[in-house]
């Protein structure tokens, strides 16, 4: 199932360090199917979130048809077989660009990835320049403050991407429009449970623009799957219904909006204390170097990086989510793949 989800890939892989400034941004590039280990952070696999000695986790026997590229922590939709795109991301991943620009940066147009983020461009077939531009802009905007790094299972059909591209584009536009009020920029329309208070049965069909699985009205589905989401440094927890999302991308953007307000210290009661207007440069300073990783606690009680496994598997095993500082999340990644491999 993993292979089907993640696509086939036998090309050069690159493991990405989550810590931009970390010296241990080892990139272990291997050829073909011999790559076994996925060394996200240059550390051994360990279930605790404490940092530990740097070593390469020895993942065994990851099938060669695993698209490890796809499970790398980037934003786009895996599934593209285009080597060009893979290499693009490879290069970009090494590129220590500005991580969290507030305003979409023009140079994000081609290579949509900056720092450790993989863009849509990387993995989607038939990717056009204009789309990448939109995505680039939007993506950078969206990573404003919370560098949530996820992977996606490859459901990258064109329409789906297009919608998300449009979304990101509009995100970008949103930023541009909200010039006078930095609070508009992140526009934290949080997908918190029960907010906005619109009844779940209400079916305002945006027939023209919604995706099939776009739950405009946030119905909880057959059984709602509420998990707590906490963020280091945030004053209180939020909860989300995982069933309102169908991809990691949606989860990522939802959480991003929910928690970017904390990063900016603007919204909610916490914001009352730090309500002074933040200039763009001030924001950038704040965000520079701060890096967050989305992790989850699975049914075994282990903390894993979100995005390693197919979506369905993820929601089946996720007990709660935590947005951690990158430094705390060292060594989480390898286990996820190994665990799921073991399950398979």
């Amino acid at each position: 199932m993993l292979s089907a989800q993640l696509g086939v890939e036998g090309q050069s892989q690159c493991n990405v360090s989550l810590m931009a400034s970390s010296a241990s941004a080892d990139c272990i590039t291997q050829n073909g199917s011999s790559l076994k280990e996925r060394n996200y952070l240059g550390l051994s696999d360990c279930s605790s979130v404490d940092s530990s000695a740097v070593s390469c986790g020895a993942d065994t026997e990851i099938k060669s048809n695993l698209n490890l590229k796809a499970t790398e922590l980037t934003l786009g939709l895996p599934g593209s077989q285009s080597p060009h795109h893979q290499e693009l991301s490879f290069t970009a991943l090494l590129d220590e660009k500005q991580l969290f620009p507030l305003i979409p940066s023009k140079d994000a147009q081609k290579s949509v990835v900056s720092g450790n983020k993989r863009g849509f461009a990387d993995t989607v077939d038939g990717f056009s320049d204009s789309k990448s531009a939109m995505l680039g802009e939007g993506k950078n905007w969206m990573f404003n403050g919370v560098g949530v790094m996820l992977t996606n299972k490859p459901c990258g059909t064109q329409p789906l991407v297009k919608t998300e591209a449009t979304t990101l584009k509009e995100c970008g536009n949103n930023v541009n429009n909200g010039g006078s009020n930095t609070n508009n920029a992140p526009a934290a329309k949080a997908q918190v449970v029960g907010w906005p208070p619109v009844r779940s049965f209400r079916k305002n069909s945006l027939a023209a623009t919604s995706k099939n699985n776009d739950e405009v009205d946030g119905k909880p589905g057959p059984t709602a799957l509420f998990v707590k989401v906490s963020m280091d440094g945030a004053p209180y927890l939020r909860k989300v219904d995982l069933r309102t999302y169908s991809t990691y991308q949606e989860l990522s953007s939802g959480l991003e909006k929910m928690f970017s307000c904390f990063t900016l210290g603007q919204c909610g009661p916490a914001g009352a204390q730090t309500r002074e207007m933040m200039s763009e440069s001030k924001l950038r300073d704040l965000l520079h170097g701060s890096e967050y990783v989305l992790t989850y606690e699975d049914k075994d009680g282990d903390w894993m990086l979100v995005g390693d496994v197919p979506w369905q598997m993820f929601i089946a095993s996720c007990k709660r989510l935590k947005i951690m500082k990158g430094s705390d999340a060292i060594g989480l990644a390898p286990r996820a793949v190994e665990k799921s491999k073991n399950r398979n």
Partner: protein, 588 residues
């Protein structure tokens, strides 16, 4: 239900009814006769407090029961006090359950009530339930226990399927009303409609708009043609336009119509027929449904709109142009529900076309901002307030608002009784000045002296709550989310609003001090809800200990560390702690 005392006065025998009391200036029969004209349950509660014999006269003459919180009292207590009930209204879950904030199987099951009613009120005619769980078993019990049963209204209820409805349809020979609103159970099944017997013709109200399953149109058509007194018909989305036309031919006297799907390829002849059918509906006061309505077919409605007082477009995302064109034909509108796809421009049309408007609800097409539509803003609201001075009820979902706009709005419309403003981004300040929205809601509290219900949003400090506590003297319901700076905010409200009945709070920095500051007040209120605040188990425990007539219930999220109280529901009760509480509800 303020006085559950079951003592009977010394001079009357409960089983025979009250007899003459020698000290009364007039006999009980007169008192009872007079009381039979008192209908409001609030008035009746007041009457029952005067003296014991008034209490008795009242309880013997009450025929309509209203229970705002099903756990505030028990079926046994109710049955003992009121021997002759014909109509019951029961409300169950806290309102936030509408937004998925309560786990499933929380409770509010109607069954124990029905079991008691079947025993004690064989002449029950009406049952109106809101946010209760209603199983098929309960519906079957209902259908078989009350031979004269007439009206069932289910609002935001869940737990039933078509089987329960089938029992109802087959057994209730005198049914006049079946009104299902906002049903949570979607795939209920549609076979129930065919279960009405062939000679059944008493229906006056039929609303199955929120049940999505296919039904047999032929059976529906036959039913509608048989029921000559039908005045309210709200069908579901599966009914097409030409089918609707056939229904309208059978029921031109409808006062309330909920259409089915409003999008269909119509031949010119069909178009004309539908248009004629609508024009023949001379009595139409309320119109809803209209799923997928668009510019092509909206004009079909024009002929039916002259007398329309309530237009519910909350299932029809329209653009401003079509919307404005429709409004021109609805000069008598008093209540209007729309989706924010009409944008500010559409609301300007409301301001110019609907001078009699009293109620406006604007729902978001894109509540989770997936498509980044603009929706409506302060200028739309302003435009409505300029053109509709009678506006007193508003529910407004927007992405931005300003203090200045709200201040002007309430100056234009000072008669607000219900002001529910939802700025959809939590903690969003005035988008022009970046200040908190304190002054906006302060103006609402100060200017709208009749204000009964208020929902606040946006960035708010304790100042806004000071205003509310100080000025909102008639406020009964307050909803707060992502607001306030400290305990003082909540305390201001608890100390200030004398008529407060329902307080629901989520994601605010209010803690134990605030919670406990209102302990005496909660006995004068129906309920308090606090979730994702700073209240701890300890604080709740103190409240529970000090106020034995309150139920203090806590639901903690999985994996919670056990010291925080994640969801707290406090309500007054004479029935003691819940006996049916599921495991995740801790009663302290």
């Amino acid at each position: 239900m303020d006085h559950p005392s079951e003592d009977s006065p010394s001079s009357s025998d409960k089983s025979l009814g009250p007899t003459n009391h020698p000290q009364l200036p007039f006999p009980d029969e007169v008192l009872e006769k007079v009381l039979s004209f008192v209908n409001s349950h609030k008035d009746r509660s007041s009457v029952s407090l005067v003296r014991k014999d008034w209490y008795n006269a009242e309880r013997w003459t009450r025929s309509k029961l209203f229970i705002g919180n099903c756990y505030s009292v028990s079926p046994e207590i109710v049955a003992r006090r009121f021997p002759r009930i014909k109509s019951v209204t029961l409300k169950g879950k806290p309102r936030f359950s509408d937004f998925n904030m309560l786990p499933r199987d929380w409770g509010a099951n109607v069954h124990p009530w029905l079991v008691m009613f079947a025993k004690v009120y064989p002449f029950l005619e009406e049952l109106r339930l809101k946010r209760m769980t209603v199983t098929d078993e309960s519906l079957e019990l209902l259908a078989k226990s009350f031979s004269g049963f007439k009206a069932l209204s289910l609002s935001s209820c869940d737990g039933f399927t078509e089987n329960g409805l089938k029992a109802l349809a087959s057994h209730c020979r005198n049914l006049t009303e079946l009104d299902i609103q906002d049903s949570i159970s979607e795939d209920v099944g549609g076979g129930w409609l065919s279960s009405f017997p062939e000679n059944f013709s008493s229906l006056e109200v039929l609303n199955f708009a929120s049940l999505n399953s296919d039904i047999s149109f032929d059976d529906l058509e036959r039913l509608v043609s048989r029921c000559k007194s039908l005045r309210v018909l709200k069908v579901n989305e599966t009914i097409s336009l030409d089918q609707l036309q056939r229904l309208l031919v059978h029921a031109p006297l409808l006062t309330e119509l909920g259409t089915g799907s409003f999008m269909q390829e119509l031949t010119p002849r069909q178009y004309e027929e539908v248009e004629t059918a609508f024009s023949n509906c001379k009595n139409l006061e309320a119109l809803s449904g209209l799923w997928d309505a668009n510019s092509l077919y909206l004009p079909l409605l024009y002929g039916a709109c002259a007398g329309l007082t309530f237009l519910n477009l909350s299932d029809a995302p329209l653009q401003s142009g079509d919307f404005a064109n429709l409004l021109v034909h609805c000069p008598n509108l008093r209540r209007l529900w729309v989706i924010d796809t009409v944008e500010d421009k559409g609301l300007e049309a409301v301001g110019s076309s609907c001078p009699l408007l009293e109620e406006l609800r604007v729902f978001p097409a894109d509540p989770y901002d997936r498509h980044h539509r603009d929706g409506v803003s302060e200028s739309g609201f302003l435009a409505v307030s300029h053109g509709c001075p009678k506006l007193h009820y508003v529910l407004y979902f927007c992405r931005r608002m300003t203090n200045a706009a709200v201040i002007t709005i309430v100056k234009n419309c000072p008669d607000f009784t219900h002001f529910r403003l939802c700025i959809m981004t939590p903690g969003q300040p005035d988008h022009l000045t970046n200040e908190p929205m304190d002054e906006a809601f302060g103006a609402v509290a100060k200017t709208c002296t009749k204000l009964k219900r208020l929902s606040v949003s946006g960035l708010l400090t304790d100042v806004s709550f000071e205003y509310i506590g100080k000025y909102a003297k008639n406020l009964e319901t307050l909803s707060v989310a992502f607001a306030g700076s400290s305990d003082w905010g909540m305390q201001s409200v608890l100390e200030g609003c004398p008529k407060l009945r329902k307080l629901e709070i989520r994601d605010c920095p209010f803690g134990n001090t605030a919670l406990l500051s209102g302990k005496l007040k909660y006995e004068t209120m129906r309920s308090l809800w606090m979730s994702a605040c700073n209240v701890t188990m300890k604080g709740c425990g103190i409240l529970a200990r000090e106020m034995p007539r309150l139920n203090v219930e806590v639901i903690n999220d999985e994996g919670s560390d056990g010291s925080q109280a994640d969801k707290v529901y406090v309500y007054r009760t004479v029935a003691g702690p819940r006996r049916d509480a599921p495991g995740f509800v801790l009663t302290l």
